[in-house]
Subunit: 194 residues, 2 copies
């Protein structure tokens, strides 16, 4: 996705240890037009899966998942990190680790919105170690729903998470893949100039 | 906004103590098409304010704010409750209280994305006690930016928050206003049948 790759080249910053800052357009400030394009690209890649719901995790997964949902005419469920007082009893729960905060988090989804007849696309902002994605996959399994695809806006190939997802036997799509970082320079797995 | 009011009547649940559950279309599962209409309605009401950015708070403000941003071609900044490792030093901070979790929360915005030349629309899911909205207003003030409007998807008139916002002298818009609750019944401030 060239427009996204160009934006990462222009505004993304490598903070060291493989940590990528994309706060100016994705994870703190959101470029709403870019986010619309991200949704369209997910829709293009996932259009023939007969999905019934998109599942994501708060916080940074919400914007890309909702944008994809708008394009695909699908409801979006976001796993919550804390159980609000409005949530029904006995939700599905899975432990994960926050990649940008470092602490253990629990992801919680009400059984009202993940059901055995669902066909689920999981969408998140990053595919890095895939710990959040694995927690979402487990939530899908708890519900008995069928996982049909996993999508991430940006893949950090160097974090190695993709290999752990291959056993799922579903399409794993990243809109942009960063092969590795060399100092301040991000090396993409496709040529930046198209 | 009739489509939203109808949906609240159909699926919203009063859990007691004025707490409204709208988890099936807004705060846990998101109806992406309804969210698109919510964005269009905010855009219609706020189109002539020459706004430069929309400010909201994670988590449930993100979807309506991004939808409005898509329609108004504006970037959206969401205040974070925890400072991620990617955030620049010395962000703006304000204390608030989570209405659905009950605990104290801090709202944090990087000074990179709220500047003195900005004209800010604040959008959140609920206008109830207005504590979150006041924290967002204070973040705008810290930055020196100009607040031009406040929008909420649903107003709980019975929670009384609006009166505390009137001194701001900006438009305060709620897409649907619930005057009061009588047992299980929600009383809207407009006739439900239009």
């Amino acid at each position: 996705m060239k427009v996204l790759r160009d934006r990462i080249i222009k505004e993304g910053a490598h903070l060291g240890n493989g940590i990528l800052k994309v706060d100016s357009f994705m994870n703190h400030q959101i470029d709403s037009q870019l986010m619309r394009e991200i949704g369209k690209e997910f829709a293009r890649r996932f259009s023939d899966l007969a999905a019934t719901r998109i599942l994501t995790a708060e916080t940074s997964g919400i914007a890309p998942a909702v944008s994809a949902g708008m394009e695909m005419n699908l409801p979006v469920v976001f796993a919550r990190k804390h159980q609000p007082i409005t949530m029904a009893a006995d939700p599905f729960r899975e432990k994960s680790v926050s990649p940008t905060h470092g602490n253990d988090v629990e992801l919680i989804v009400s059984s009202e919105y993940l059901t055995i007849s669902d066909r689920i696309i999981i969408i998140d902002d990053f595919l890095a170690t895939a710990r959040t994605l694995h927690a979402l996959v487990k939530l899908v399994r708890h519900s008995g729903a069928t996982l049909v695809a996993v999508g991430a806006v940006i893949e950090k190939v160097y974090a190695g998470g993709r290999s752990s997802l291959l056993d799922l036997n579903v399409p794993i799509e990243a809109l942009v893949s960063i092969e590795r970082v060399e100092g301040d320079k991000l090396i993409f797995n496709e040529p930046a100039a198209v």
